[in-house]
């Protein structure tokens, strides 16, 4: 055991381990970019549609369908299938198959939470706003969206957790996959790769937890005063069900 931990420490101290082309710093940047780009796309695509449908309170059936189908499709399988399509289309494996998969993975929680958040705004409050003469647009932006913000942000956080969990799997495809590269490469080597597998896993776990924690900070800053943030336990419990 001591011997093994020594190997892990040695791994971290190898030449070029931090800043080299395959180093931890560039791999971390790649990892974050591979998570941030799909998240951005998913938010831009899913939120407006969900908010609009939620405001009109239509399409609940399709929302449920999105959740159920989304949950049953294994992200690992989807990733590899996307790779097959890209290769057949003559494109590379490096980057885009992972981006497409991650966008598909990120959309369901963002979509369903945004829909639920808006559609479940207290009917009394919405009616009162309408009675006060607010236009539909004002009701949406000044009543429903602020009230729904914790749930909308929770959906984004759930997607972020799932996307961060899948980014390392992209290392199976090619030389990408951020920090996942160390783990996949280590596994392929068998016992001699043990230290690299372990070191990669530690890095992935730390990065995920740090990003998740940073998101809660951003969340707190974004929420309008008077609206309560959902606790970690509430969000993760919701993550488990969406």
């Amino acid at each position: 055991m001591i011997d093994f931990l020594g190997q892990v420490v040695m791994w971290f101290m190898e030449e070029g381990r931090w800043l080299g082309p395959d180093g931890i710093v560039p791999r971390t940047v790649e990892h974050l970019w591979l998570a941030a780009l799909p998240m951005g796309i998913a938010i831009i695509v899913a939120t407006p549609v969900a908010v609009w449908l939620g405001h009109r309170r239509i399409g609940e059936f399709s929302v449920n369908a999105v959740v159920n189908v989304g949950r049953a499709i294994p992200s690992f399988g989807l990733l590899i299938l996307a790779a097959v399509f890209f290769v057949r289309a003559g494109a590379g494996l490096e980057f885009w198959p992972a981006v497409v998969t991650l966008v598909a993975l990120a959309i369901p929680p963002i979509f369903t939470n945004a829909y639920t958040a808006i559609a479940n705004a207290p009917a009394g409050t919405v009616e009162a706003a309408r009675g006060m003469g607010l236009t539909e647009r004002e009701i949406l932006w000044r009543v429903e969206v602020p009230i729904g913000e914790p749930v909308i942000l929770a959906g984004i956080r759930i997607s972020l957790i799932q996307v961060l969990a899948t980014v390392p799997l992209a290392a199976v495809l090619a030389s990408g996959g951020g920090l996942g590269q160390y783990v996949v490469r280590g596994f392929a080597q068998g016992t001699p790769g043990r230290a690299e597998v372990f070191a990669g896993a530690v890095l992935i776990a730390i990065l995920t937890l740090v990003v998740d924690w940073l998101f809660t900070r951003v969340e707190r800053a974004l929420l309008p005063p008077g609206v309560r943030r959902l606790s970690d336990t509430e969000v993760r419990a919701a993550a488990a069900i969406s």
Binding site: P74, R88, F187, T233, R236, A237, A240
Partner: protein, 228 residues
């Protein structure tokens, strides 16, 4: 890994016909990996949930730790456990995979069991105590059955999640449907048939187990039909 755009048929039925035995074998292995994880996860979760309810101060730590386990990516959990347990023999690989899979079920199951048990009306429990039930009998004969619909809902979600995660255990060199997904990718020319079979069967398995558990839940708790 060579990657060439190639003229191979997109879906080759003859491969499926030739490999029916192996497909069946891997499906069974997928099922046993899933079933084992859920069985162990359920036992641990029931114990944790009962602990959380009898000593309310333990609930927050239990929820945070299972939440933390859920947040850590599956690949990282496999990779953290693998060097410690080893991935040489089948038994070692199996344990490595199960530790990770079980850790994913805990959040979902504990949460639903606690919610279910908390939802049992206090009067019902008091009536049972008044009738002379011991605390153990109240739990087994009154609270558990009444909480069953919520617990089954949790088991369904955990099952579908685990079926998807088991596809990743192929990276450890274990079987299951992920074997085909990885194998199709690792051939010198990518072989889509194998990948599609792996993915479709995994989705099908998740759907069948989901519907099966829904049916089982209704059989076990027919009075709750309207709620599930």
């Amino acid at each position: 890994m060579t990657v060439v755009a190639q003229e191979r048929p997109f879906f080759d039925w003859s491969w499926v016909v030739r490999n029916v035995d192996q497909i069946w074998e891997q499906t069974l292995e997928h099922l046993s990996l899933t079933g084992f994880a859920l069985g162990v996860g359920l036992v641990i979760s029931i114990l944790l949930a009962v602990l959380a309810l009898t000593r309310p101060r333990t609930y927050e730590p239990i929820a945070s730790v299972s939440g933390l386990l859920y947040t850590i990516p599956s690949l990282a959990v496999f990779a953290l456990v693998a060097p410690i347990v080893g991935i040489g023999t089948f038994a070692e690989k199996f344990v490595t995979a199960e530790v990770a899979l079980v850790s994913y079920t805990l959040l979902i199951l504990v949460r639903n069991i606690v919610t279910g048990l908390r939802g049992v009306p206090a009067e019902t429990k008091e009536a049972a105590v008044g009738m002379g039930y011991t605390p153990g009998q109240v739990l087994r004969q009154i609270e558990m059955p009444l909480a069953l619909p919520v617990i089954v809902a949790g088991v369904r979600i955990a099952t579908v999640t685990v079926v998807g995660l088991v596809t990743v255990t192929s990276l450890l060199g274990l079987g299951g449907l992920g074997f085909f997904i990885l194998n199709g990718l690792r051939k010198s020319i990518i072989f889509p048939t194998e990948i599609i079979v792996g993915v479709l069967l995994s989705v099908l398995l998740a759907a069948l187990l989901d519907v099966g558990l829904l049916w089982l839940g209704r059989r076990l708790a027919p009075w709750a039909k309207a709620r599930t």
